[in-house]
Symmetry: none
Subunit: 221 residues, 4 copies
DNA sequence: AATGAATGAGAATTCATTCAT
DNA sequence: AATGAATGAATTCTCATTCAT
């Protein structure tokens, strides 16, 4: 089917992927498959057979790449956290230095088309719902939560400072904003026809405009 | 099969509870036990053996009172919804007619000490996380969501009208408020030491004060 | 098939066994079945399905009575050790006090018709062969070994003392006797037609007669 | 595919070992590795992955050199039998013709430092424990057993004859001696600190001295 | 109304074996 | 000659459900 290639090393990234690449690729496929299955069948209903079947590979493939189901799930969560992180870095780098712009950018991250899809939100929810019972998940969650809360709080503090918004507490605002974003993601997942990503951002901006009128204006419906 | 009893309430403290009373009591114990087990082990980790064990009764007891595990879970969700409903009715009845007071009362419901406990929030999360995959849960959720969104939206609309807050969209505000409440409940579950029920309400009131300055004032920290 | 009995409590040990008895009975059947399967298929070839199937019960029965395969094996070993112990006590009680008689009785124990059957020896061998690798087995073995070696050594010491057999070391004789018994059990297992239990005892007595001519006489072939 | 090579032995120490030599070397390494793994993890716990890993080679290596696991095990057993045979030949050649000397030499074989190591005894035990269930092992065992029993029996017969030991049966003595050796090997495996190879030989000699006082003298402790 | 032994379908896991490179 | 990713059958284990008592 394929022409004979004299040396596999000739064009390392072209024709034939190296063994390590193949392995990494399969691993990634399994992880993506896991997200899909969780989204479709829920956390409790997810079986390794489902995950394997969706990749078109054999039953045993999961335990070949992961020591246990637990580890597959941990890797999946790590994959999602990593993806989030990457979008975050990219978007924030472009956001400039002004606190209002950065706060607005924060919303862009959470409602980013790459991250804010039904199946991914579903997977996040599933992990978080189990996170109280499973220490490994909980640790991941606490790390992420702490990190992004600090980020939001710092921006709010700068905004309050610069804009002279006396009487506002950065921690309270950040807490509320983060909570609202989380809740809206849930709504997007459950009722994508009722709440679009853009609509969700408008909701957040409306509340921000109430608190920081000099920096945000309520968007028209 | 059993003689007709005019009222189960007829002799509330009498010697011997009737068969029906015993049965109902056991059912209720099983449901509360289910909530506890979900809170402790997560949805995926909950087994009927755990539920039975926690009641101190025998393994087979669950299938004696419920046709299947699915039905026990459905009954548990119904129980929680009913409890929510009762708190809601009670609190709102006392809230008077003024829209601002009623909106404030809404927060009291969600952060009510009866409802807002770690284990109950955990159970709610678990059900909702599975709700996309399980039609029975999803129906329950959609019904509740719709109902309380309508409630909040109507109050916001009245508030906007009365207070002459031009440029505000009741649906957007209601959506944001509900989302924020949901997100805060999550935080209370994960970090009860960092976010108390009172603190969560303060967060919501801060944002409401931003939008409706004539009706709410930002609480001091 | 059985006449109706008015009360199960009427004759506790007769008609209907109690639940606890049924459970213990099933457990014992599983253990005996395990011995048989090990004897038939070897240790490596023994599966829980085989064990269950041989009892005529369902696949899941083993894990209902034992937490794991490992535990079933441990219980089986304990059962065999216990059986050995009981035969030992019974036979030695009847043996009187004279050291020669007691030493002869020792042989009766090891070559006792209850213990010295192909399938049981096979099971013992299987456990002992794995005992170096599995700590739980090893502990059992070391305990048994130590106990019966001490017993044999004490008897040899008394015999040497009483009979004035200078130049003999009780530990050496006991060590050799125990080893010979073990080796002969192996032979019985492998070639029951070539080495009977009686023949095995004759072998031991021949060697004992060599060392203790005043107390033992070489049996005729 | 490869050019015909007149003799693999042609240049024994030359630069580059021939393919056949490499192959034979790998085969041997795999067999030795098998013995080690059996000694360490037991028969039931031995996997091809373990065997391969211990050679430092890749997972698939075993199936490249052996058609199946069964064949690797058979080859391992054959290897051990062959090694035993070689030691036997060498030691017995030097033993002279006198039956007592040859009988003493027999002990030297079984307790020879090359053969009598914990890991090898362990491997022998493992094979023998499975031998009742596996025809291939059983055949090997029966062949070896028969051969060395005949050897011992013949020596005992000559000894009885020459020494005029009336009343002794060569078969019985040989049976007892072989059994004792086997049992002592087991002890050496389990408690090398309690029973050394030399001590084991002393035990055997003590018993032989009892039966054949003209030919053996009980060793001092 | 409750018990708990037993069932059996289904899940995770292990591992010998295959095969393209 | 060797590699190691992939396969899939077999095995252990879990657990909802059944049922005789």
């Amino acid at each position: 089917m394929s022409r004979k290639v004299s040396s596999a090393m000739a064009e390392p990234t072209a024709r034939r992927p190296s063994r390590a690449q193949v392995k990494a690729g399969t691993r990634a496929r399994l992880i993506r498959s896991t997200i899909d299955v969780i989204a479709e069948k829920g956390f409790a209903g997810t079986t390794l057979a489902d995950v394997a079947h969706r990749t078109g590979m054999s039953r045993g493939i999961v335990n070949f790449h992961f020591a246990s189901k637990e580890q597959l799930l941990a890797a999946t969560l790590a994959y999602m956290a990593d993806e989030y992180q990457q979008v975050f870095e990219r978007v924030m780098r472009r956001a400039g230095r002004a606190p209002a712009a950065r706060l607005a950018a924060l919303l862009k991250v959470d409602f980013h088309p790459t991250l804010c899809t039904g199946r991914k939100i579903m997977a996040w929810r599933a992990f978080w719902a189990e996170s109280r019972a499973r220490p490994a998940f909980r640790r991941q969650r606490d790390t992420l939560d702490a990190r992004y809360f600090r980020e939001a709080e710092a921006l709010c503090a700068r905004l309050i400072d610069h804009g002279d918004y006396t009487g506002l507490d950065a921690a309270i605002v950040a807490r509320g904003l983060n909570a609202m974003i989380d809740g809206l993601l849930d709504e997007i997942m459950m009722h994508p026809e009722a709440v679009s990503r853009a609509a969700a951002r408008r909701v957040c901006l409306t509340f921000l405009a109430g608190l920081f009128p000099k920096d945000f204006t309520a968007p028209g419906r």
